[in-house]
């Protein structure tokens, strides 16, 4: 029998699918499939028609709406995939790597350096630091300057939104123009294979969020020091006409040894808004530190950041955010309508005058707040 030219007979196709052929027949059939597109199509068709094939790919791939916490989730298709990958030796490295990160790695340019994952622009990529809803952070090495950098890439699914991409670039450029001790430096903004990314110093340290999670409320001296630096960083950005929009403890980094405050992610919340409006309908971010005008969708200016700063100070004082509820809606409603619980009830060590500063920052009407971050920085620095 000539494998190249002999097509499947109707019954044979069925028996082939049933693995019901002799070894010789089986081998011949497989050899025929090597070359015959017609029989491949027939085989596919008799396994399941085309909508099934489309559905399989669509349904078995994880998307952005995976529910967490159901029994079936623990052994979902992705987990099945990693299990099956474990057995192939040359894939062992890829085991623990989630799909979105694999995508990013696949999209890097090849490198000559075996210790590196790939190249991006002028950087050798040493590893993946983290991944989240908005993108991936890579650890890169800049050969020309002999230093490590953190490279933040807009997630491919967000990059399909032109508005988000433009915004990402524009806000990053604006943030790059802010030079201040308490604002993270941006080495550069660029684009590779039409995914925008920004390059920042790679630092060791923690964030205010983690600090509060681990140690609870901070001492008054610490609150004043970190609060003053945060307000200082904000005022430098505001002077450039840049509103942060997402001031929260997770965006306040504490540099390794000195614990100097470094504000990060200026304006990126806005890029995410654009993407979610045009792409997925998902709200990015947590509303705990939003201002009332943000919650209501009203126009915002730099004074929105001051409300958020008030919430950050409150969290440093008490170890918990001021407006809390079980659902995002509940939180938003409290942000717009409710007064937070008195700080001194929760932590009597906080002096009254500091509480008053926070109350002033928490005014629902921006006109009743402090008007500039400078003022707040000065007050906290006294």
């Amino acid at each position: 029998m000539n494998a190249e030219t002999t097509h499947f007979e109707p019954g044979q196709l069925q028996r082939f699918l049933d693995s019901d052929l002799t070894d010789a027949e089986q081998l011949a059939a497989e050899r025929h499939l090597e070359v015959c597109d017609e029989c491949r199509q027939q085989l596919h068709q008799s396994a399941a028609d085309v909508t099934w094939w489309e559905d399989a790919s669509d349904f078995l791939t994880d998307d952005e709406f995976e529910i967490v916490g159901t029994a079936s989730n623990a052994i979902g298709p992705t987990a099945m995939m990693s299990q099956s990958r474990q057995s192939t030796a040359d894939d062992a490295e890829a085991d623990a790597i989630p799909t979105d990160i694999r995508q990013i790695i696949a999209w890097l340019d090849p490198t000559d350096d075996p210790a590196m994952l790939g190249r991006l622009g002028g950087y050798e990529i040493a590893g993946v630091v983290s991944a989240g809803g908005m993108g991936v952070v890579l650890k890169g090495f800049d050969r020309s300057l002999n230093r490590y950098v953190a490279i933040k890439i807009l997630a491919p699914h967000l990059a399909t939104s032109g508005a988000a991409k433009k915004r990402f670039g524009r806000e990053a450029q604006a943030a790059a123009a802010v030079v201040h001790d308490n604002v993270i430096a941006i080495h550069g903004v660029d684009e590779s294979h039409s995914l925008p990314y920004l390059v920042m110093p790679y630092l060791r340290g923690t964030s205010l969020q983690r600090r509060i999670d681990e140690h609870g409320a901070l001492s008054v001296v610490e609150i004043l020091r970190l609060g003053m630096q945060t307000a200082g960083g904000l005022s430098a950005a505001h002077d450039q006409g840049l509103v942060h929009r997402d001031v929260k403890p997770a965006n306040i980094l504490l540099d390794g040894t000195t614990e100097r405050v470094l504000l990060t992610d200026f304006g990126l919340a806005r890029a995410a808004d654009d993407a979610s409006l045009t792409h997925s309908g998902v709200i990015v971010g947590t509303p705990y530190f939003m201002s009332p005008e943000q919650a209501e969708g009203a126009a915002i200016d730099h004074r929105s950041d001051l409300f958020s700063l008030g919430s950050v100070l409150y969290t440093m004082c008490t170890g918990r955010p001021p407006f809390r509820a079980d659902t995002s809606w509940g939180i938003l409603r409290k942000v717009t309508d409710a007064q937070p619980h008195s700080i001194r009830d929760l932590n009597p060590d906080i002096p009254q005058w500091l509480c008053e500063i926070i109350v002033r920052l928490h005014q629902k009407d921006p006109a009743n707040r402090f008007q500039t971050a400078h003022e707040v920085a000065d007050l906290l620095g006294q």
Binding site: L17, E30, R31, H32, E34, A48, W52, W53, D55, S57, F59, L60, T61, F65, I67, V68, G69, T70, A71, S72, N73, I75, P77, M80, R85, T88, V129, S130, A131, G133, M134, G135, K139, A150, R204, S207, Q209, R210, D246, K248, A250, N251, L253, T264, D265, A272, S276, L277, G281, V282, I283, Q294, A295, E296, G297, A298, A299, S328, W329, L332
Partner: protein, 232 residues
């Protein structure tokens, strides 16, 4: 790699990583039977042990269906979980109305109808009562409501997604490692067959054979289950 700094740094734009996590924990806590406690509390409403198994099976399929539909309408994780729970609670509450029938499939069909109505009912209420104006996050939630027809077909498609996943889990063990990989890499990840043949060190023909065999099995099992869940 020491990523302490950068972890947080990234999370700052990630999807409410910190706080959603704490909300999720309550959903993930398990009782002694390994059932997440929210499901366990729903189970208490279901008196008949036979029905309990059926209910578990059933809510496993529908929970992600409802959650996805809620997320797609702009709800955040916690709110979507919450809505899912409310829909399932309302369905569980109706289970007492069920007249026992020896045929288990009928129970599912009846439950599917009840659930469909509950989903349509609850999703219709997804209209936040917040201030008008602006182009905010909140605005996008005020999308035009879908027709009940459209919602119905969305439910069916989402349920089909869950059935695919359930079946893929179930039949996974019926196939050898390489066969399953051949299917997954080519049919799900859409990697070209030639590349997968290379990677798995198999002939192209055997990759075609493997993926088709898995697909046929998948189709058979999903079709059976789907008929079972079809509404009356």
């Amino acid at each position: 790699m020491d990523g302490g700094f950068a972890d947080n740094f990234f999370n700052s734009t990630g999807f409410c990583v910190k706080y959603c996590h704490s909300i999720r924990v309550t959903v993930q806590e398990k009782d002694l039977n390994g059932i997440p406690d929210t499901q366990a509390s729903l189970l208490i409403r279901v008196k008949d042990p036979l029905d309990r198994d059926a209910w578990l099976d059933f809510s496993d399929i529908y929970r992600p269906v409802i959650y996805r539909m809620a997320r797609r309408r702009g709800l955040q994780d916690a709110d979507a979980q919450d809505l899912t729970q409310r829909v399932l609670t309302s369905v569980a509450a109706k289970m007492g109305d069920w007249q026992h029938d020896p045929e288990r499939g009928r129970f599912r069909a009846w439950l599917s109808t009840v659930t469909r109505n509950a989903i349509i009912d609850h999703l219709r209420k997804v209209k936040p009562d917040v201030a008008q104006g602006g182009s905010s996050l909140i605005q996008q939630l005020k999308h035009l409501p879908a027709s009940d027809e459209a919602t119905h077909s969305e439910i069916q498609r989402e349920r089909r997604r869950q059935l695919f996943r359930r079946v893929a889990e179930d039949i996974r063990s019926e196939f050898g490692e390489t066969t399953w990989m051949a299917f997954w890499l080519t049919a799900v990840d859409l990697t070209p067959v030639a590349d997968v043949a290379d990677q798995l060190k198999r002939s192209i023909g055997s990759i075609y054979a493997a993926r088709s065999r898995v697909m046929r099995r998948l189709r058979q099992r999903v079709s059976e289950l789907e008929a079972d869940f079809d509404e009356c």
